[in-house]
Subunit: 408 residues, 2 copies
Amino acid sequence: MIAIDAQRLLGRIRELGAVGRDGEGRLTRLAASDTDRQGRDLFVGWLRQAGLDVAIDRVGNIFGIWQNPEITGQAPLLIGSHIDTVIDAGIYDGCYGVLAGLEVIETLKATGFSPSRPVAVAAFTNEEGVRYTPDMMGSLVHAGGIDAETVLAAVGTDGSVLGQELARIGYAGDREPGFLTPHAYLELHIEQGPVLEREGLPVGAVENLQGISWQRITIDGVANHAGTTPMSMRNDAGHAAARVITFLLDRTKASNAPTVATVGTIRFEPNAINVIPSRAVFTVDLRDPDEQRLQAAEAALAAYLEQLAAAENVTVSVEQLARFEPVIFDLRIVEQIEAAAKRRGLGVRRMTSGAGHDAQMLARIAPAAMIFVPSVGGISHSPREHTDDAELVAGANILLDVAAQLAK
Amino acid sequence: MIAIDAQRLLGRIRELGAVGRDGEGRLTRLAASDTDRQGRDLFVGWLRQAGLDVAIDRVGNIFGIWQNPEITGQAPLLIGSHIDTVIDAGIYDGCYGVLAGLEVIETLKATGFSPSRPVAVAAFTNEEGVRYTPDMMGSLVHAGGIDAETVLAAVGTDGSVLGQELARIGYAGDREPGFLTPHAYLELHIEQGPVLEREGLPVGAVENLQGISWQRITIDGVANHAGTTPMSMRNDAGHAAARVITFLLDRTKASNAPTVATVGTIRFEPNAINVIPSRAVFTVDLRDPDEQRLQAAEAALAAYLEQLAAAENVTVSVEQLARFEPVIFDLRIVEQIEAAAKRRGLGVRRMTSGAGHDAQMLARIAPAAMIFVPSVGGISHSPREHTDDAELVAGANILLDVAAQLAK
């Protein structure tokens, strides 16, 4: 049984994780920033060292392609993820999958594996969506879900324009986005959740990915003096918002369904201790692997808001910020992941991805699936993000096995 | 029956209300700012025009004293309020009471009234407390409730030091705070609430002032990914905060007591749409004219927080930001206000002040009471603050009548 070079993979994860540290040691490589350029340069250097053809498309997606000269016209197996990060990030999210993809190709090459199709590794632009909206941007463009011109005109949180920034850092490539249509797509990723750790399993075969509904809810009441306005004469937007949060999260908690609901942001206006809030703005993040259940959760929220507006004499407006239907991954590949884990004696379970990933975009144009490894404490998007070395290596070997099968 | 000069009073309210406008016409005269200096200069000019002795103490409180040379050694009747404002203020809050006090003195002088004691008008520093903490600062110092040195060292929201700012604008006076111990204290003010308007009454005889309890509550849970963390494995600080708000406001609303509860500010951390809040910080403003009921509301909140911390596995900490016991005003003066209104054929009711006022500080050292006039829509701290001219004049005439009785 062949195996990846653990030393090389772990070393590269740490080396890339050292790029983009600020004075306090915090890791940040936002898409198309100077630190992203440094990370990209390091990665492209490794692609060239490995003898791969480097292709960069107009939205900055990077491909390293093992183009066996003896085979032509075959759709490539693509392994991908991203190397941009959130602010104050960990070193594994995205980078692990990209570097493991490169590791798999180098291992296959070194062991004399003879593929029946090209094998490529991709690093997609702006998966995190911190600087530019939408997230999973590069893979969405690659899959034809949004126009390249639209995303190149995206204005960042810092007022920058993505197209200009890509040109500035030297990653506005010449390939047309979507130039490479994969035979299949694989993505290896840390779970970013607590399930594998809780069950003591090293591998997850990801069979689907939750649908996501993001809404911003604005409640308008009337600002008034906190001391002089009797309770019966108030239109308290903050109180109404608290009712919505309590209703939504209690309902979700009480249900046996896998629906999750989160209110992560909130803001009151005028936000003064002695003024009844005239306005409350908050976001709702609803997820479910089943589209009908997700729609039921949205409908329950909408019905509650309607009833609340009448009962509390407030005005409610709702803005849909994002909506993705659940994604079902390719069953055959999921079974191959399970089988590979069993052959290596590793515990495995089928599972749902709670987070969004580039794989959900690629699933639009190719059979796709994901492999998860445990996240300690379920933590990600944090310097405390951690997966044990042995588990990182085990996950990469599963990726190797499945890639070898798909490229045979 | 003598009467104040309505034209002069209304003209001065408008003239002072024009001082401190920004480019967009917004009125802001924060304590000891450049615009506060302009307002003070205008007021002091009017005091001198009226032939009053001007005295300024070390914390910037301004007094205009009608010191009849034939009477000595008598404690003065003091009429006061403030001329500092909130940000984007209306023109009546505080200024109405100060200018009506001046108007009453000028009217008494002009009509040959012969007082048995001095009559003085005061404008107290930093009643609003927007730039420096605590609010009602000047009157609190005057009443001996806090040290002058302490408040002069107060650092503002803009990093300025009050003592330096008062010196800069020329209002660090030479009189020792508290130099003037009043025989009685009167304050005329807009209601800042909806009660008089709702009942169609032009005058309120304020018999007491609510006790106030301000708390800042911090709930700590655990930040986690909104998509990957099952509902059962969450410690959601935001959800816990919403429960507290719902509990507190529902309880207060359902009660027949006059207790009012407001959650005016809130903040989540990290405040990201797809991250479960690790921390929620919000303020609670509780008020009641009865100390025992106020304590009962505080105790109910504390008990709920204790139970919540255990049930939701979050940590709760509470910081008391302010605490004032209810103030009971002087019954004899309240009766004089009622009698004066009736003599002038004006509807009147006894009422509670929901807001804090300088009068609550002066009540510590002298018999005190307040007169309220209606606020349209209960609105204050806003450019939409409004009281009809006829009601402003009527209120000032009641102040005149009661002042004449107390100074006879």
